[in-house]
Amino acid sequence: MSLTKEQIAQRIAMEVKDGFYVNLGIGIPTLVANYVPDGIDVEFQSENGVLGMGPFPYEGEEDADVINAGKQTITTMPGASFFDSATSFGMIRGQHVDLTILGAMEVSENGDIANWKIPGKMVKGMGGAMDLVASAENIIVAMMHTNRAGESKLLKKCSLPLTGVNCITKVVTNLAVVEITDQGFKLLERAPGVTVQEIQEATEGTLIVQGDIPEMKIA
């Protein structure tokens, strides 16, 4: 059984450690906030200028002046702060953010990522993604293993315009958890009921399989 988007978020939430400042991208990454285990203190940063983001507001309490990078209305947690865009990217560029989680269209086996442009079709812009991937030390990509046409998104080399080079640490998909190493994608875990062979077939880039590959543990 391949994972749902919620389960991908749930698995990634296990990578979030006590005391982390975390930047969540739009899409699956946003869901990670829902699964951070109890007893762990983390602060979520949104690049439009807030640290200490809380859940969505109750109906009637929405504030047009308090949104996240996805332009959604949010609330703030005790200890939160607001700041301007230059300060926000100072946090990111200055490597003060411990973990960055973002979506991708393609990831290559050397850790390149493409997620901002499909020439001639979709040009929405990179937003803060290029700044994030160029500076962050710990970047996890959350995405489906293959695209809608069934083609692998874990490639030898990205075909789309790049967002950043040699920057991704780990990829969590609906099929597997892989780590980027000098030799390629190292398979760490497989989704419950998914075989190594199925992952192999869905991965165009070099997949390194060493010993028994455990199933992901998702509560």
Partner: protein
Amino acid sequence: MINRTVASVEEALQGVKSGMTLMVGGFGLSGIPENSIAQLVKTGVTDLTCISNNAGVDDFGLGLLLKGKQIKKMISSYVGENDEFERQMLSGELEVDLIPQGTLAERCRAAQAGIPAFYTPAGYGTEVAAGKEERKFNGKPHILEHAFKADFAFVKAWKGDTAGNLIFKGTARNFNPVMCGAATITVAEVEELVPAGELDPNQIHIPGIFVKRIFQGALYEKRIEQRTVRSRT
């Protein structure tokens, strides 16, 4: 006290001409200078180059200037949520320069602070780096980016005083502070304008020296782009 107030939005926009480069504050529709944008529409100036993180939506924010084909070129980091924008861009009517958001902010801040250029790792190895000087610091590659040059900066703050001091609210702050003083003339519109002396100097986010003209906006719609809520149960 140096008085920075102007009587009206008309006076605030005096000197804006077709072909100029304008900085416009805001992230999405949050913290946008609504009154200045409405007045830009009214004056009918064209061939504008706009530096703004986003391009509004079809019927609000900078989308209003796009609809009237008043913008020749947009310099932004993210331009989704706007069909007319996408149409004009793909048809070639509108020139678009997409740049990383942190670089956009820093190019404003550099202009404000008198720094001509700076190195950043953002965009290295991508098409953003094309034609730019590259240099390694501590073994890590960076690209050279330049400060913006703009004729006007239009920003929006929560409160301001007659000396031009500004206080922002929530995430409506975003690009507004870094655009203050980053253009030849900075126009600040505020929800509430008070006499100098009423705001606590300890709480000022942007000192009036960075603001040339200030006025109280007549009307703020403060439209929400993505209304997300949770249930009380």
